[in-house]
């Protein structure tokens, strides 16, 4: 139980550090910012106008139009292309001078031709030296299609008004399904986010011992490697537990609904153990902060993938195997699903297996003086030695 001494002192010294406290509270302010952004996003989704996630192309490319009958120009979207009305000759001159990217000519007799069920010929002139021409071409094609459909519908209505489709008046109640899913997934992701905010603390705790050479003294203490690794890891897991609890409280106080908060908290908390386990493997192997930083990026991309991919799979086809990720389980709880107790064993089992493997590797690495003090064997050789496929190299 001497690991608890390391945990206690690591926690004590960390919580006393002004630098740490600044970072800790900055993380909370990031949460507030995310809540604000999400609420704005949700408000936009729910509004009649909706939300545009495409950047405006207004002014990006200009198109001259000679459309005496105002047949084409009323369908073109001015938010995408800047439309200017010029005569045929002026437009051609402007095109040659590079003052416009394209020119559309709609013959004056087009409306007459439509009435006589004839074909209209719209001509598009493009400046091929201008790379923006493809935007003009796409927009003209889509406008022409919209215009054609609209004319066809008007014609059908004019000859058989009784066939007009009855209108349905929609009255919206409750939260829209996509927004519901987005909200639940966002809360779940926010709750899991603190798991990835303290990796550097773990790296500093282990790699720092190597870089500052304090590890030599620690290893001379009457402690096993297991006690050192577990003691240091539990300190970081403890910090994560505090941060998750704070984040959860803030989410609840700001009006987000969290069903079974204690159960959700426990699921997030136990996930911190293997995530920190993976971080310790990286820290135990790394010689310095730089190496650990690279490893941490890779490790966290892997961890996020392991959490997110099954959750996304569950959202699309609700397969049982996707419950392997605690994130899936949290999304299900937040969605108010009735989950059989045995299904909780799936993420729990996964968390236990990953934790045991990660901590076993970390302990084995930290036990090896060549990994701690050097010269460190290559990654492949080290892996083979760890699984017993190769014997540790000795000169004698």
């Amino acid at each position: 139980m001497r690991f608890s001494i390391i945990t206690k002192w690591e926690l004590k010294e960390t919580l006393k550090s002004k630098k740490f406290l600044t970072i800790f509270f900055l993380q909370i302010s990031v949460l507030f910012l995310m809540i604000f952004i999400f609420n704005t996003f949700a408000a936009n989704i729910e509004s009649e106008k909706g939300i545009s996630i495409t950047p405006s192309l207004s002014g990006f490319a200009s198109l001259d139009v000679d459309d005496q009958g105002h047949l084409f120009s009323k369908y073109i979207n001015p938010e995408i292309i800047e439309v200017k009305n010029y005569s045929y000759n002026n437009s051609l001159e402007r095109l040659k001078a590079g003052q416009t990217t394209g020119f559309v000519f709609v013959p004056e007799d087009s409306i007459e031709k439509i009435r006589n069920i004839g074909t209209i010929n719209i001509q598009l002139y493009l400046d091929v030296s201008d790379p923006k021409r493809s935007v003009i071409k796409d927009e003209v094609n889509s406008t022409t299609k919209i215009m054609g459909d609209s004319i066809s519908n008007s014609w059908v209505d004019s000859i058989a008004p009784q066939n007009t489709t009855p209108t349905v008046n929609q009255q919206n109640t409750g939260e829209s399904l996509p927004l519901q899913i987005i909200t639940k997934a966002m809360i779940a992701i926010l709750l899991f986010l603190p798991l990835f905010l303290f990796g550097n603390m773990m790296i500093d705790s282990v790699v720092g011992e190597k870089e500052r050479k304090t590890g030599e003294i620690l290893m001379a203490m009457p402690l096993s490697t297991t006690e050192i690794i577990i003691g240091k890891s539990m300190a970081v897991v403890g910090i994560i537990a505090i941060q998750v609890a704070l984040w959860m409280s803030i989410l609840l106080l700001t009006g987000f609904q969290i069903i079974s908060p204690l159960l959700v908290y426990m699921l997030v908390f136990i996930t911190a153990i293997p995530v920190i386990g993976i971080t310790v493997v990286i820290a135990a192997y790394s010689k310095n902060y730089k190496e650990a930083g690279i490893g941490l990026t890779f490790g966290y991309v892997l961890s996020v993938g392991i959490l997110m991919v099954p959750a996304l799979v569950y959202l699309s086809n609700k397969s049982l195997s996707s419950n392997i990720s605690p994130l899936t389980m949290v999304i299900r709880i937040l969605s108010g699903e009735n989950i059989p107790i045995w299904q909780f064993l799936i993420p729990l089992g996964f968390v236990i297996i990953v934790s045991v493997i990660a901590y076993w590797i970390s302990i084995k690495l930290f036990e090896r003086d060549d990994v701690v003090f050097g010269p460190r064997p290559g990654l492949i050789r080290l892996s083979l030695e760890l699984v017993g496929l190769k014997k540790r190299r000795k000169t004698l």
């Binding site: 001494i5 390391i6 500052r212 304090t214 203490m221 010269p375 000169t395």
Partner: protein
């Protein structure tokens, strides 16, 4: 055979780092209450030997028995018997001196009701009581070394291992540290690795000279010094060397060896009796003359040469 009077017995230790052999069949015995100095050039294997004794490193082969306990079987027990002070006083920078000692006391399992008293006593011993509430990162190297000594003593260990404790310190601080070590002598078994021969000469009961991972000579400082030819070394600086005269002085009965170093003769004598006669041989050619008794420096250089 393990004697009850023995505290540490290093037996056929081998250790390599990649292609570098750090220890090559190291055998060493240290008695209870003894202060053993280990001297040797850089890379001789001193630090590796003491790191293995402290159970920080594992040997490739061989064993060390500490008070009868094997480093392979009882590393935790052995660690609790040892107070280790590494070459660099690497301490947790953000800790206050008192907190640091408290932390290590808890790790060593010092009973909680004894910790405060023990800390006060040690801070007093190393002269750091007034700085107890200051952070380690405000201390100079000398002050860190003092706290390092207090940390190594916090659990009142039977064995103390000091690796270059005065390295890089000013003469006054070095003397202070030597004084601490002298105070501890007799009460505890101490291994002192040092580059400073005068330090080893002053403090150690026995000195082991290490080179290339093995002990090449060992004994009390006096024994080692007596192995150097003669009791007295006569240094004669001449205008130029004089081989016929050198041949002549080799015939004196008190002369044991004659070495040259540039235009200087280094003559080892087993008595002072014939010094005047020797000087007469070089009459008129001597620029300077001095005599000195052999030191551990001479022993060390001589051992490394051979």
């Amino acid at each position: 055979m393990y004697s009850k009077n023995l505290m540490i017995k290093m037996d056929s230790l081998y250790k390599s780092f990649g292609k570098i052999k750090a220890l090559n069949n190291l055998n060493l015995e240290i008695k209870k209450g003894e202060l053993l100095g280990i001297i040797g050039p850089n890379g001789a294997g001193k630090t590796t030997a003491i790191r293995i004794t402290s159970c920080i490193l594992k040997p490739d082969s061989g064993d060390i028995l500490v008070d009868g306990n094997s480093i392979h079987q009882e590393p935790i027990k052995i660690k609790s018997m040892i107070g280790y002070l590494p070459e660099e006083p690497n301490l947790y920078e953000r800790f206050k001196a008192r907190d640091l000692l408290n932390y290590f006391a808890e790790l060593y399992g010092v009973p909680s009701n004894e910790i405060d008293g023990r800390i006060e006593e040690l801070l007093e011993l190393v002269g750091m009581s007034s700085r107890a509430e200051d952070r380690i990162n405000t201390f100079s190297k000398g002050l860190r070394q003092r706290i390092g000594i207090a940390r190594a003593l916090i659990h009142d260990p039977q064995i103390l291992i000091f690796d270059e404790p005065t390295m890089g310190l000013d003469p006054a601080t070095s003397n202070n540290i030597r004084e601490f070590i002298r105070k501890l002598k007799g009460d505890k078994t101490i291994i002192l690795c040092t580059h400073y021969m005068d330090e080893a000469d002053l403090l150690c009961d026995r000195v082991a000279i290490m080179n290339q991972g093995e002990i090449i000579d060992m004994g009390t400082p006096e024994d080692l010094k007596s192995k150097i030819h003669g009791e007295i070394i006569l240094n004669l600086k001449l205008e130029s060397i004089d081989p016929p005269a050198a041949l002549k002085i080799k015939e004196f009965s008190t002369v044991e060896a004659v070495d040259t170093d540039g235009n200087q003769y280094i003559i080892s004598l087993n008595s002072k009796d014939e010094i005047k006669s020797i000087l007469d041989v070089f009459h008129g050619k001597i620029l300077s003359v001095n005599t000195k008794e052999p030191t551990l420096d001479d022993v060390f250089i001589n051992s490394i040469k051979t």
